[in-house]
Amino acid sequence: MRYLPLTAADRSEMLGVIGAASVDELFADVPASARLSGPIAGLPLHASEMAVERHMGALAGKNVSAGSVPFFLGAGAYRHHIPASVDHLIQRGEFLTAYTPYQPEIAQGTLQVLFEFQSQVARLFGTDIANASMYDGSTACWEAVAMAGRITKRGKAVLCRGLHPHYVSTITTMAKFTGDMIDYRAPKLDAAPDTAGVIAAIDAETSCVVVQYPDILGRIPDLAAIATAAHAHGALLIAVVTEPVALGLLEAPGHLGADIVVGEGQSIGVGLNFGGPYLGLFGCAEKFVRQMPGRLCGQTVDAAGKRGFVLTLSTREQHIRREKATSNICTNSGLCALAFSVHMTLLGGDGLHQLARLNHARARSAADRLSRIPGIRVLNDAYFNEFTVMLPSDAREVVRQLADRQVLGGVSLGRLYPDAPGLANGLLVTATETTTAEDIEALAVALEGVLS
């Protein structure tokens, strides 16, 4: 059945009420040059399903996909192995349509998943509590900045230089509307992050310090020192984790003094998916729970004393608190959170630790091999599974030539920082458990070829 509820008479009546002569008139504000004047050239009005499938398949075939060639991209989105059992479990009928519950207590299974998810995130981050997820890492990061403003009643956020530039961009976009002052500068190409610089930027107006861990260049910031300095000024420390697998080896930010920990959960259970949908992680100290955004599932007992789950503290949320809500998020990334939770459950604590060791070992092999190439230098003095190498020339061009040789060699800093020519020779290289010794050798040989 086609869902076309409006008749021509309905339409002209509605247009009459608002005083428009035609539907086209409603688009008068869109410049004529940006409007289509007719059918799209070359696009037929009809095509059979088989023809469309063949056409789309040919288009997709032009991509070099992550799984088909040696692959070293990271910078906030990581290729990891997802066990087939994850997809099997999340596609079960009980789960597949799982979305943020609108009549929550009726869906006890959905709530229990969210509760388990929250428990895993809180343990991973070392925070007292975690919410039922946000849209993605960058929006979770902005929400943390806004939350710190509510708690401290201050309006200046200090962003570390090593914060992912896309996260910086999300924050500056949102701050345009809230009036928060954002203190941020692009990174410097040093072996370690600029801890002293971050600490020096904190003052009595600072609501929060936002520190990525590991940072965009793969370096490991000294969270404990920054936490001490932030707290001395009455500011909060927000730690940002774009690669949660790293926490299988690194100390949890919450244990190092971070008040709010946010991150991108894509790495665990969620594929690269062309950049989305992803999964925002959000944890904080319990004393801040009333200012936390997002849905929160709690465990309780029913009238008969049996364990049950509820959505709790909903009065923070938009559907009750309206414009004074802690956030305009009134939902969660249900299916991605489920995938994260299933994968994390399959891994367990020991599994996560082993996975993290494997990632680090592969990254070390890659760094060792690349640093033997004349003209190439590894920048970092510490890293997890991602590090920065300095090339003798513009990394963007090198990445293109590597792609021509069927190697996806990394993310150029020129792509991340188009306005910072001083960073152009930097290349971010990531290795995970999916990276083989052959992949590393293929990258090294291709690089030697491109640079010779």
């Binding site: 009333r290 009065t315 923070r316 009750i320 608190r321 004074k324």
Partner: protein, 123 residues
């Protein structure tokens, strides 16, 4: 000491330049079981009509408006552990915050008990 009432269902008991603010019994009855009271920090400067305080109940989160202008001097710490005091004793031990009035003339715009009773009878 004189007690005044607002159309937003706050009461204020004035003693010299100091006022104690709470919500009325009628208001707590409308809100249902109160689960949390978000209180302002001492030293907060308030204008008449500002909302320094939020009362969460099982039904809603409601702002409490300051019936007059002034500076917060004290809040009811007991509510942190026992928010239900606002239900059981709203016009006495369930008070919310105290403030120093900056413009006592504002009191003239508030109601006395009889006027407030008449007001809620018409709601």
């Amino acid at each position: 000491m004189t007690r005044y009432y607002s159309q937003d269902h706050e009461w204020i008991e004035v003693d010299g330049s100091s006022g104690t603010v709470g919500i009325t019994d009628y208001a707590q009855g409308q809100l249902g079981d109160i689960t949390f009271v978000d209180l302002p920090a001492a030293g907060t400067a308030l204008k008449k009509g500002d909302a320094p305080c939020v009362v969460d109940s099982v039904k809603a989160a409601s702002d409490v408006y300051s019936p007059v202008s002034g500076t917060v001097t004290d809040v009811n710490q007991a509510l942190e552990g026992e928010p239900e005091l606002v239900n059981t004793d709203p016009e006495k031990s369930g008070w919310l915050f105290r403030l120093t009035l900056s413009d006592p003339a504002e009191l003239a715009g508030l109601m006395d008990r009889a006027a407030y009773d008449h007001y809620i009878a018409g709601l």
